[in-house]
């Protein structure tokens, strides 16, 4: 009995020794080759709690050296289970805004419905609109890595905020860390916050005297960054999430002020969306009238849908017509700035980076549409001119009558309804 116990303990010690030796093996070389990484790890809570290289990276040296191994959120979650669970419930985990963040790259999650219909329309292999991977798919491999996945890898990894080898929570809590991705023309939350009273107060007083991103979006250190966002794709009902956010605001503001402020932002979002929809309607009409130049059939195919017209979240910003380009800016930059500026208490972003260019975009679209239609009408009049000698026989006679009718319409001598009605009567007269 005693011999057996001794044997088990000895075996365990040998095993531990072997694993420890493996970690030492990594350090033997990496202390020289990547001292920054090793130093950063040595300062971390991981090092002081004996979490070594192989605990996270595994023991497959070849896979690690070829960059094929990746420390996913699941690996972190094997110790930080609550953080992972909260992360999985948030938009960070299911944002699916790029191919790099596509769910096919993600491990299964009990919290999310990982069925085919999460990404694909039920009847087809087409992606649903909130899987906005088209822009990603249109990029070079390098741009996918640098410009897309650097942010969207947050869906499957923790290092976007926590760095790869450090455990300094102060780093993860910095607004600049969020601002790696939440900045710029598509959603300038960092700039909005900085230019708001919240950001100015923070510049003066620092934490905890003024709110930063995590104050409102990671309450009590929760990794569910989507709590309190009433218009998001995750979380509870809109009213529950709104009450949650009002509760946060009410720590410093009156509840009435908080509700009105958020309600104003809701209304600004609705108003901005209405402007955007009007713009979308104009572009769709131009497409139906075959007035987009280049036309979808004449340009390099869309990465998902090929040579078809795509508008909305799946549209790309490459090889498109001027009207589509105006709409793209309205959708991706101006609309986002208008309502996110309002939610982040940034008057200038809400108005001058959002509302004003959004309305200017709509004016530009209307003007562009009018110009395109005028040009088209002129082109049709030119096309409608008789070519050479008139055709003889009944077909030629009918064509001449149709030509005269169309020219009269194109000159503006009759309305569309009058033209349609006269054309129909003429066709029927000819038994057609």
């Amino acid at each position: 009995m005693n011999i057996a116990k001794v044997t088990i303990v000895a075996a365990a010690l040998v095993l531990l020794g072997a694993v420890s030796a493996m970690a030492d093996d990594c350090l033997d070389c990496h202390a020289d080759k990547t001292p920054g990484i090793v130093g950063y790890w040595q300062e971390s809570a991981h090092a002081s709690h004996d979490v070594t290289c192989t605990d996270c990276h595994g023991t497959d040296v070849e896979k690690n050296h070829s960059l094929a191994a990746r420390v996913t959120a699941d690996k972190c979650g094997s110790c930080h289970a609550q953080a992972l669970s909260e992360h999985r419930k948030s938009k960070h985990s299911i944002s699916m805004k790029s191919g790099g963040g596509c769910t096919r790259n993600m491990p299964p999650s009990p919290d999310l419905d990982k069925t085919c219909t999460l990404c694909h329309k039920p009847d087809t292999t087409e992606p649903v609109v909130n899987v906005e991977c088209a822009m990603f798919l249109a990029q070079s491999h390098e741009m996918k890595r640098v410009g897309c996945s650097s942010c969207h890898k947050v869906e499957a990894g923790c290092d976007s905020c926590h760095t790869k080898h450090g455990t300094d929570l102060g780093h993860a809590r910095r607004a600049e860390t969020c601002g790696q991705c939440h900045m710029g023309p598509d959603h300038a939350q960092l700039e909005m916050w900085r230019s708001s009273q919240h950001g100015i107060l923070f510049a003066e007083r620092g934490e905890p005297g003024a709110p930063t991103c995590v104050t409102c979006h990671m309450v009590k250190g929760s990794h569910n960054v989507s709590r309190g966002i009433a218009t998001g794709k995750t979380g509870e009902s809109a009213s529950t999430e709104r009450d949650f956010m009002v509760g946060i605001c009410s720590r410093c503001h009156t509840s009435k002020f908080s509700k009105r402020s958020l309600s104003d932002a809701d209304d600004i979002q609705k108003q901005s969306l209405a402007i955007l929809k009007e713009g979308q309607g104009i572009v769709e009409a131009l497409y139906k009238e075959d007035l987009l130049e280049p036309a979808p059939g004449d340009r390099p195919g869309h990465p998902i849908f090929g040579n078809t017209f795509v508008i909305g979240p799946h549209m790309t910003y490459e090889n498109i017509s001027r009207a589509e380009a105006i709409y793209f800016r309205m959708m991706m930059f101006n609309y986002m700035s208008a309502f996110k500026g309002a939610f982040h208490q940034s008057p200038d972003y809400a108005h001058w980076f959002g509302n004003a260019p959004l309305k200017l975009g709509l004016s530009e679209l209307k003007s562009e549409a009018a110009l395109l239609r005028k040009t088209e009408r002129l082109r049709q009049r030119l096309d409608n001119l008789p070519k050479g000698e008139a055709e003889s026989g009944p077909a030629g006679e009918l064509k001449e009558e149709l030509r005269a009718l169309k020219d009269s319409y194109l000159k503006g001598e009759m309305t569309q309804e009058e033209y349609d009605s006269k054309k129909s009567a003429l066709m029927e007269k000819w038994g057609l």
């Binding site: 039920p122 077909a395 057609l432």
Partner: protein, 392 residues
């Protein structure tokens, strides 16, 4: 010493004898159509599925595939063979011209008088070639490949310009049939008779198996001239259909078969009607004179009220009406029979296809000249066909 036959065995022995006597007669009737129509066997070893037997436009000859491609001259009662290897589809184009798909997707246009042929390159998976306007042919394609989750099925409609030999894709689409549904019957999609008479539109019966939702049939028509597609059945979940079928006289209805082998009539307005569920079969064909369908060995009125047994023991038989509808070539059990004097259906449709064609040419001319939009073209075309159907 004789052994007595037990009394209770006698009725059994009598029954067996009776069965033995009746069996050959049944077997005969299973292969040979009723004497009423004086059937003539014109070939053996025929495949007999749609696309392998075709009447010439004047009804004087039948082209068929029986290992090789053959032409049977009805008045002279003689046959000639074409030197084309492994044919799998044939169709007439003009008086003395056959369109033949053969081998692994090769295509030949054969002069039936001189025997000369011209080979033209085809897109992948060509299943049918049909004459169109001017110097164009319509090519329908269906091909599939195995992938990890099932079968990736592709359908295409192309226009082949005979003068230049160039191909223009009018419609191409693909769908994935998950592994649990894979079966050849779902891989086909184009109605086997090819483009509709009058309008020239092709009908695609797509079987869609979406993830996490019940499968359904989506039927669309594709116009090779304008390229316009129209959804006939957007989401039909009650049944699924094979693509073997035929067009009604005016091409506004198609006879198709559900997966239980029952005949259905699909109107291009989107309505589906039953005909006679007592009859099962595989290859329906409309009588070119009116609302009657050969199916499962019977001639059945479209309303299901009257039916005439032609070859009831051969539900898998396929019939091919002569252009005037008076004669019928029936492929059954590997044999090809010819029947003359087929009585006209109860409801005949009196039409002038020449008048429709004349107006269709004018409509196409107006559409090409920019005087009509695609929608206007189709609206007017359907109205012309409807007026013909109503005898106006």
């Amino acid at each position: 010493m004789s052994r007595r036959i037990p009394r209770n065995v006698l009725p059994l022995a009598f029954a067996i004898m009776l069965v033995c006597l009746l069996l050959p007669a049944n077997a005969m009737s299973a292969q040979k159509p009723p004497a009423k129509y004086e059937p003539v066997k014109i070939a053996s070893g025929v495949k007999g599925t749609p696309g392998t037997v075709a009447w010439s436009a004047d009804g004087s000859r039948i082209a068929y595939i029986a290992r090789k491609a053959h032409i049977y001259d009805i008045s002279g009662k003689h046959r000639s063979s074409l030197k084309i290897s492994d044919p799998y589809f044939l169709n007439w184009s003009g008086e003395n011209q056959l369109l033949v798909l053969h081998g692994g997707g090769q295509f030949a246009i054969v002069n039936t008088v001189t025997g000369e042929s011209r080979d033209i390159e085809m897109p992948e998976g060509a299943v049918g070639v049909y004459p169109a306007w001017d110097d164009n042919l319509i090519v329908l394609t269906e091909w599939s490949k195995e992938i990890s989750i099932g079968v990736d099925v592709h359908h295409g409609l192309y226009l082949l310009d005979l003068e230049s030999g160039s191909l223009k894709d009018v419609y191409v689409a693909s769908r994935i049939i998950p592994r649990r549904y894979s079966g050849s019957e779902y891989l086909r999609g184009w109605l086997s008779e090819g483009p509709a008479p009058a309008s020239g539109e092709a009908l695609l019966l797509d079987f869609i198996v979406p993830p996490n939702a019940p499968p359904y049939v989506k039927a669309i028509t594709v116009d090779p001239f304008t390229g316009r597609t129209e959804e006939i059945l957007p989401h039909y979940r009650e049944d699924r259909f094979g693509a073997w079928g035929g067009w009604s006289v005016l091409g506004r209805k198609a006879a198709i078969v559900d997966d239980k082998g029952h005949l259905r009539v699909l109107s291009l307005s989107g309505a589906i009607s039953k005909v006679d569920d007592a009859i099962s079969g595989s290859y329906p064909a409309y009588d070119p004179r009116g609302d009657r369908i050969y199916f499962g060995g019977y001639l059945i009125d479209e309303d299901g009220i009257n039916r005439t047994a032609i070859l009831p023991e051969e539900p898998e038989s396929a019939a091919f009406f002569s252009p005037d509808g008076n004669s019928l070539a029936i492929a059954a059990g590997g044999k090809l029979w010819l029947l003359h004097g087929i009585e006209p259906p109860k409801h005949t449709v009196q039409i002038s296809m020449d008048e429709i064609r004349e107006k269709l040419i004018l409509l196409r001319d107006l559409y090409s000249g920019g005087f009509l939009t695609a929608d206007e073209y189709h609206k007017r075309l359907y109205a012309i066909i409807e007026r013909q159907a109503e005898g106006k």
